[in-house]
């Protein structure tokens, strides 16, 4: 499927109908998801209205993890099949991914203030999300730092892959660390079982986030395709065409 898109024009044609579709899904979901989340869904018997934070927090958390998986998958694809479009996809996903991770941390923290009585606990989930956020920053730094696009792309593959293999390890180790250091009194696994009246807005918001992410990737890849075109056009100006002298067989001296 990826080789089908190796032609930028074909990708452009695909994006031309896929982008509006993603936006349609996004706004459709938001049109129902926002009112449902903010108004029509019931408040939780324990958490009260703070449960409404969940509708932006949980999808962001899911996306933060999914997006890194996406980056790793694209890195692997680029690694194995040397597919430059996969690099562009991974690059386009990194910014949104970092924002999803940041939003997860911020909304989680704001939710934690009234619920746990503190802005931050070194809870396993929070901590591993923080490290995931750091990984995103490192990944983005690789793209930002390099002067040569091609080189940055190939280095980013390494960071994407190593970062991804590391995610479960971080998760596991943080779990371990947390259970040793922190009595699990604040967070209970048996929280409120989700009622369908809450599941609907949650699902809609999650779908909206996925649509938004797809649109981010599509537009990011399109931008990088255009940027490549511009660079290619600009290139003959920057370099001088070289015409090596024809080497005659008898061109011996000395």
């Amino acid at each position: 499927m990826l080789s089908y898109f190796s032609n930028p024009a074909r990708f452009e044609a695909f994006a031309r109908w896929a982008s509006p579709l993603a936006l349609l899904v996004l706004f459709g979901c938001l049109a129902f998801g926002i009112p449902m989340g903010l108004y029509f869904s019931p408040e939780d018997y324990q958490q009260g209205h703070t449960v409404r934070i969940m509708y932006v927090h949980v999808p962001a958390a899911i996306m933060a993890e999914l997006v890194f998986g996406f980056i790793a998958l694209m890195s692997l694809t680029a690694f194995v099949w040397r597919h430059t479009l996969a690099d562009a996809c991974a690059r386009a996903a990194a910014g949104p991914g970092a924002i999803f991770a940041a939003l997860t941390l911020i909304t989680g923290s704001v939710w934690g203030r009234p619920t746990w009585g503190t802005w931050w606990v070194w809870d396993a989930r929070l901590t591993s999300m923080l490290i995931l956020f750091l990984t995103y920053i490192g990944y983005i730094a690789v793209w930002q730092m390099g002067t040569d696009e091609n080189k940055s792309a190939r280095l980013a593959r390494i960071v994407g892959l190593v970062g991804f293999i590391n995610v479960p390890i971080v998760k596991f180790s943080v779990d371990w660390w947390n259970t040793l250091h922190q009595p699990a009194s604040l967070l209970r696994a048996d929280g409120p079982t989700i009622h369908s009246s809450m599941l609907w807005p949650l699902g809609l918001m999650a779908l909206a986030y996925i649509a938004l992410f797809s649109w981010f990737v599509l537009s990011g890849v399109r931008t990088s395709i255009y940027e490549k075109q511009i660079a290619r056009r600009a290139q003959p100006l920057a370099s001088r065409p070289i015409k090596p002298e024809q080497m005659a067989a008898g061109d011996q001296n000395g």
């Binding site: 002067t147 040569d148 696009e149 091609n150 660079a231 290139q235 920057a238 370099s239 001088r240 065409p241 070289i242 015409k243 090596p244 002298e245 080497m247 061109d251 011996q252 001296n253 000395g254």
Partner: protein, 208 residues
Amino acid sequence: MKSICSDKVSLQCDEVACARGGVMVVGGVSFAVGGGEAMLIFGANGAGKSSLLGAIAGRIPLMEGTLNWAVNDDVLPQRQFASNIAMLSHDGAIKTGLSVEQNLLFWCRIYNKPRTDLASIVERVKISGLEHRRAGTLSAGQMRRLSFARILLADRPVWLLDEPTASIDDGGRADISALIGGHISDGGLAIVATHEALDVPHRSLRIG
């Protein structure tokens, strides 16, 4: 000593183009050279001599074209051919904190050569007596001779030399020309990026 050149090495380049930082610097280079020949790549500063040499060495990937190294007409992949190459890069691969001898001893171990070779090599590049000096205290010309000693030590059929006579005086240029001449008359192959003529029978490739 020159048993390494009993195998015939050759290089065939077709329409090679290479890039630096995503920008093409050299394009449309075609030539073929073999053992017993020296090829000098001439060009002004920034013409892409080093990039082309880097591409020939397999360090910089080609943008276009093909480049084939062969031993006795068997084409080898670049990585596999690497053990036939001795490379003199722009920076001489010298540790200024180590003595001349320590520098060469390191490369002795890398190339798996006995350290008994050292004395004669130091003599051939005319830096005898400096063995225990710290490389950082050598003059620029002596440094260049020291890095050339490593090429002799490597004892490999293909020499890729980037500006071997940079910051070296007339006498030094003659010495290095003589060493390259000796190498090719032993059946070796030398490709030299240079901005000045060397006194060696050679073919030339002008870029830029």
